[in-house]
Assembly symmetry: C2
Homo-oligomer: 131 residues x 2
Amino acid sequence: MQQKRNFSAKREAIYDTLASTNTHPSVEWIYQKLKPTMPDLSLGTVYRNLNVLREIGLARSIGVVNGQERFDADISQHPHFICTKCFRVTDVPVGRSFFDTSAYEYISGEYNVRIYGHSLTFYGICGSCSE
Amino acid sequence: MQQKRNFSAKREAIYDTLASTNTHPSVEWIYQKLKPTMPDLSLGTVYRNLNVLREIGLARSIGVVNGQERFDADISQHPHFICTKCFRVTDVPVGRSFFDTSAYEYISGEYNVRIYGHSLTFYGICGSCSE
DNA sequence: CTAGGTGCAAATTTTTTGCACATGC
DNA sequence: GCATGTGCAAAAAATTTGCACCTAG
């Protein structure tokens, strides 16, 4: 990512934190993670930078889970599983395709719309919460 | 709906409003719609009743769109299209299946999870917004 | 009388933003 | 010096909730 080279130290740290976890964290999670080693970090900066990262295409929103927006540095369109009890968000590796990729053009044709993405989310109870 | 028969006048009105539109409205939208003919309706009541309706399975959340939660009285699991410019939410009738229904058991098997639902949402620009 | 439903306003929670200051080029 | 980034705190926006009251049964 040559673009990353121009990042400020804080934007870099925020991106790195997001990119190095698979928890699909919230703003608050990232803030708490960085705060100890970056005591002068403010919450507003995390909000602002996640929005910047989203705008330039280095991050994506998983949606609002239990009142907080969750983010992912993995831009590829892959399904997620959300536990509605502990609110953990898990990647569902696309070892196979659940999804008919002709859907985009089909829907674009039926309706008069331009589609540029989709999100597929499964809801349920995870293993830990079932015990 | 025999259950509906026991609804209070306001819960009934809120459900009816939700059920008779295809706009996938927000709390505020329903409130504004009912307020003229129901001047003593309060916003809190709309919030409370939508949560009740969701709990008893007569409504479902489409998710948070542009900062506001959107609801649907159509419980069936069907895809939606969201215009990221005007934030209109449109049903995508499942004239065909984009979705491999073996996904649930496949994922449940791979992971140790119990799946009870999913949501499939397409993002893009609608016809009106493209002009 | 009791339980459930409601208005109202305050409180909570999440996210955004105005402003002054700092930093790198 | 200028554009960008940031801390801080206030503001905004959405949602929840405490409390008193009210109404149906």
